[in-house]
């Protein structure tokens, strides 16, 4: 099947924890993608990718930190950079996109969105 060369010597508890975190993270990302396809309108769909960008990539990052820290027997923390980056950027992109969609819907006179104020 797959060749996993270096992981032979990591302890079982670390392997179990890493596996669990990987499966949770990728499962949540998959559910988010399913939601992106299944939900009805844009404003509903905009909520779906948040699963992947919070706990989805978060769990995989923790799994990676745990795995490399145990493998190299020293704390490997640079995954925190991606985590911090995701925390800062995801809200920006989603809010920008929602505002752009609202702007376009209003300009086309779509009745389903609230009217412009102030």
């Amino acid at each position: 099947m797959i060749e996993v060369i270096e992981v032979a010597d990591i302890p079982l508890w670390a392997a179990i924890l890493t596996s669990l975190l990987l499966l949770i993270g990728s499962g949540l990302t998959l559910i988010g993608a399913v939601g992106l396809l299944r939900l009805g309108s844009f404003y509903e769909r905009v909520h779906a990718p948040t699963l992947g960008t919070t706990l989805g990539i978060g769990s995989v990052l923790i799994a990676s930190m745990l795995f490399f820290s145990v493998l190299q027997t020293r704390p490997v923390l640079h995954e925190l950079l991606i985590a911090a980056f995701m925390v800062v950027t995801t809200p920006i992109t989603l809010t920008l996109l929602a505002r752009a969609a609202l702007y376009r819907d209003r300009r086309e006179g779509n009745e389903e969105v609230p009217a412009r104020r102030g």
Binding site: A14, S26, G32, V60, F85, T93
Partner: protein
């Protein structure tokens, strides 16, 4: 034992992530509107970064981490520019 367990769970999660990427790509193609496509493209970027991290765990190499960081950065910049474009029709005002 632990190598086998880890091998299988990495295999399964990579299948999950690959499937998620296909679903998001379907949304990119379907649309129906531009904002749907941009949202789905952003999701593809995030899934790609996650997938690269699992490749890193699978091979034990640290190079994948840097690739994931770069993909996350590019995804953010690209999506922000596209969202701005949707709003005004220009990227830089």
């Amino acid at each position: 034992m632990s190598a086998e367990l880890l091998g299988w769970s990495i295999f399964i999660s990579q299948i999950f992530l690959g499937l998620a990427m296909v679903l998001a790509a379907v949304r990119v193609l379907w649309g129906p509107r531009a904002q749907d496509r941009v949202l789905a493209l952003d999701t593809v970027y995030v899934i790609a970064a996650t997938l690269l991290l699992t490749f890193g765990i699978r091979t034990g190499g640290t190079l994948y981490f840097e690739a994931a960081l770069v993909i996350a950065l590019l995804g953010f910049v690209g999506t922000a520019a596209l969202a701005k474009f949707l709003m005004r029709g220009e990227v830089i005002e």
